[in-house]
Symmetry: C2
Amino acid sequence: MSGALLLSSSPKSMATWRRELLALAPDLDLRLYPETGAAEDIVAALTWNHPPEDLFRYPNLKVLISMGAGVDHLFRPPGPPPGVAIVRLVDRLLTSAMSEYVLLAVLRHHRQAEIYRAQQRTRIWHELPPPDTERTRIGIMGLGVLGTDAARKLATLGFQVAGWSRRPKSVEGVESFVGREGLTPFLARTDILVCLLPLTSETRGILNRDTFARLPKGAYVINVARGGHLVEDDLLDALDSGHLSGATLDVFETEPLPGEHPFWGHPKIILTPHIASATVPRSCAPQVIENLRRLAAGEPLLNTVDPVAGY
Amino acid sequence: MSGALLLSSSPKSMATWRRELLALAPDLDLRLYPETGAAEDIVAALTWNHPPEDLFRYPNLKVLISMGAGVDHLFRPPGPPPGVAIVRLVDRLLTSAMSEYVLLAVLRHHRQAEIYRAQQRTRIWHELPPPDTERTRIGIMGLGVLGTDAARKLATLGFQVAGWSRRPKSVEGVESFVGREGLTPFLARTDILVCLLPLTSETRGILNRDTFARLPKGAYVINVARGGHLVEDDLLDALDSGHLSGATLDVFETEPLPGEHPFWGHPKIILTPHIASATVPRSCAPQVIENLRRLAAGEPLLNTVDPVAGY
């Protein structure tokens, strides 16, 4: 590649990426933000939560690579510079870690793990009514790479799995619901709702009181996408009214979640500090190098994002 | 069938079995223990934890059907009457419920769910070092119907899965270790040990201090087979010395687990009241009826047990 790759994330993450990228491409001209050198040298940027306005400083920037599966951080105002290609990471380990988290959250609820744990604390030996997997309906919002993998694995376990997406998707063993008109029937048949949508202007706040009201009473919600998908007060209302039975949350509007936030101590909420799936640089470095090679050769890039749709 | 089927379990379970069996075979002559009628009428028995000596009362008893996957309850002294065929239930729902439990226990440990739950209680936002699924080695003791299903599903998630069994087994993606000489290398490569063995004179007490010592430091133990597989004091020692990191237990030498038992309050033990997998009579009734038909027709029975091996 002629030109330099700008790296921008935490110092620890940048150090790891640097090591993995140089192991594959020792001659790569890497610039670790904010030590960018001459702005005109930068032709590509690999970033996470980078200040968006800074990217307008590089007149030769041609491709912006998200350091994860999500690209919503690249679309914060003022958005990416016009004409710059946007790509994201699609990685086997990132995908399987997300499915692990989703399976764990589903099974923990389905198999009444919290209730049995409470019974253990009070030394109660009591068998709860056994759950019926074949009658338990899981609904996955978002059938991209992550949603499809989670849906497949849940279907293998015997659950009734459906997906909801903007465009029709065909996944074996998974019922497909599409668009605005598909949302109500999708929600009406969903006992466990999993949000794996990209965060866009269309999907922001989609986990709201209207959505919850259309789920059957006793439904459970799992949000592993972005905090911006969830209207937090609406979730609290739906839990406290008893309409929803509980929620597992890995992402929040404000991260780290503030110490006084009501989610922390809520008896129906299980939360984790945005750990469902972390990018593993060792596993993702080859696709970054490959995209830089394609950029230099003028070939089509891998895993590009539609800048209008925002995902 | 000419002759009667003796049913013996809890009153509630007998009522359910009665309904499901009569729905398939309205003419079936059913006797609910202890209302057996004439002892010579009984040609088959479908039982769970029935007093073994009672079965010697029925001179025409030809087949003994366990009301579950395990048959160890039929081999308690004095054992089954000589010459009586023994069969067990093999059922899709029973198998998939067991795999659900195993997956939940594995993922809960692997994804540090208890630590994150404790962090939530103290409002700590802290990312733990992410687990490495591809380097996590699961060892399944017992590759029968249940062990094979769990092994396959865990392999699909990306774990390194091996099985240990008396005879060589071939399961795609699962390394096979065999017999006494295979036990030490199997244990040495196992981070998470899952016991799904039948309980026999060979396997009683197999989860003991020698076994634990051959596991790597920090290994985790899941027992979903029978309480008799585990030497309880040896587990407590291995947990308290720090050699094992924890255990999930669904079965116990004495059930219900006595209120004063040290397992209840142990910080490294998650326990449940023998709920990993329950027999669903609706799903299992057809194979009972089919075996009664085969008995009457003199055809080979399904899912027979080797009375010498005891499984």
